[in-house]
Subunit: 219 residues, 4 copies
């Protein structure tokens, strides 16, 4: 997330004076987002209050509002960080070769990617799996996140399987989306063993399903 270029290890005091401020800001923002993510995981969106976020982030409520105009913005930014995390993680998966070779493998990799992000990034699973939450700010963020994750997937599938009609592809995408969400929603509360099992099953179910639409041999 650090978009700021590290200051050249040098002599310029001008720059040196300015950088720490931004670093601190970056850290604060990061810790606020982290706190928000953890709270989301722990207590859910309903109990996610700005005060709680600030407390958990080790800051004051005032500082939170110095960086974010309102609660919704915190969630939006969190969703955005999740999105870039997903994009980074799935970058290698989203290519035509993989998609064409085996749709099943492709879907499996997609899910593996989501699970990896989920493991690394507290709150991701919660937010992604609960688009259509009550809290309108979280809801907004969740929807955005879902769209942004699914769009590239759609694009790759469209390229890899140009003769599958769009309508079918969209349906399939919807099913993949929702089933992934199911997985992430469930996995969060399970012991590692059950997690693995659940993961396997979801892949199996989804694999059978998408194969029936996409696999050349079966069509």
């Amino acid at each position: 997330m650090q978009t700021e270029v590290a200051p050249p290890p040098g002599e310029s005091t001008e720059k040196a004076r300015r950088t720490p401020q931004q670093q601190r800001s970056q850290l604060r923002v990061a810790s606020i987002l982290e706190a928000a993510g953890q709270l989301l995981e722990e207590v859910g969106a309903g109990a996610l209050t700005t005060n709680a976020i600030a407390r958990k982030a080790g800051t004051s409520i005032g500082s939170l509002y110095q960086f974010f105009p309102n609660k919704a913005a915190v969630l939006a930014r969190l969703a955005d960080s999740f999105r870039s995390e997903v994009t980074r993680t799935l970058g290698r998966v989203f290519n035509l070769e993989t998609a064409r070779r085996s749709i099943i493998t492709f879907v499996n990799l997609f899910i593996d990617g989501l699970e990896e992000v989920q493991r690394r990034t507290p709150g991701f699973g919660y937010l992604f799996s609960s688009a259509k939450i009550e809290d309108s700010s979280a809801d907004e963020a969740a929807h955005q996140l879902e769209r942004q994750i699914m769009e590239p997937l759609d694009k790759v599938l469209a390229e890899a399987y140009p003769d599958v009609p769009e309508k079918q592809r969209k349906i399939c995408l919807r099913m993949i989306t929702e089933t992934s969400k199911v997985l992430l929603a469930n996995v969060r509360h399970l012991d590692p063993a059950s997690q693995a099992m659940m993961s396997t099953e979801v892949k199996r179910m989804l694999g059978l399903y998408v194969q029936s639409y996409f696999d050349p041999q079966k069509r």
Copy 2:
């Protein structure tokens, strides 16, 4: 759970005087639950306030608290009423014959049943599909509902397919549950045409999946 047992036509005035009161109570409770369900559908759990429930039910907030100790209790009772609705509706489906003949048909009927309840009973889809989301009071209720719905399904499957190991059955059950929830969660916001499509797809996906576990021919 006092399901409307008509009081024996008594002769004592004591009883006669009490009966209409009890009836009124039942009516109040019923209207409160109905209001809660409708509001759940309309505004979601986040905006569901006790005052709104009372108002919609045509009672006072004080009366609501005469029958329910707190908000969570209202939702719990609502979940319970949903459960009995589901039980009633799925009663004919849950029999060995059907389950044994074709697991796919069985699952399809199960889903049809849920959809039927969803159509008839405002709030059911919302509550059932949002186990482990948000508002802690609704959450509790949703979980209870889920358990109560899945238990009989498990029992029937266990009887119908005694040689499928329990572990696999449990997993499969989980997948059926979650996938059903997905359906109900999505269906609520779609036009009838899309609803039908979604329903078909979910059945297809789930069918392929359970078949691979349960269908004697395929095993």
Copy 3:
């Protein structure tokens, strides 16, 4: 302000049960408005907080919001009560006879009326004299009040002096308005003797001015 008819001193328990609620409500509303008016007088609009109003009115903040949707509504209602007070007080003054006989007397009576309301009704002077305050809710209310007070005055003048061109009348009205506001703004912080003097002077100044426009002899 009691618009509710007193319940007939009788036997109907039905009505008796309902009335006290409304009475209590009326009392609460009245005490809230009173508190708001007093605070306005004492601390000004800047320090007028909903919590302070509730505290001074001897209620809880929740009760205040049971009767008023927001702070602005309290101010608006207060302005409205002031307006009706002014209307009632100036009722006898606003007639053609008086206006025609002597414009000076007419204006004097108008000012006397405002001062009377000011004496009786805490907050009136403050609100009326400070249209264009910072606090937007108070501002809104103040403007409304000013308009509602000046409109009937305009109407009477128009009827009494039909050959004074509208433009001149409007200007004059503006001056009367503003000068009255000056009086009320100043009078609030003066001892009775100074009050009387200030009042006399304002009348003198305004008298000389309006006479030069309206008095038939001078035109």
Copy 4:
């Protein structure tokens, strides 16, 4: 009040080093006051925040507090700068000749002077016309400003018309003050044409009034 006294071109390096700092300080203070004045005009006292002032002045909030102990001090200093502006502008008006020749002309010139300052100095009209309104910090400053402007006027009148009793003079002064405030308060939101008209009317009203007290011919 250190009004930009150019430091003597010194020879010691000590002094030379300090001087530019003082100049910078002066500039900072000036820009802060300017910003405050402009904001007062634009957003009013209610929305006038210290952070906004600093931002508009191109400084940091920290610097602002280096020069001013608190927000009230900024407004006090602003009022003071307005006062010196008014003093400078009205310097030529405040002389016995003018005052004696025609009280009406004198008052007109006084008002013209205020309007000139108002035109040149953003925030002046707002602050001057809102003595005893709202925000306590602005209030304090406004009062001080009013006193400081009215004192010299009183002095000139006392000298020019020694046989008008003090009591009457004070009253008259009060009326002039308040009526001027009315003008400045109203004028700020009007188009030029209406401004001119308002100005004329106020002068007319005030002229008629003071004439009745001060004009030798009429007494």
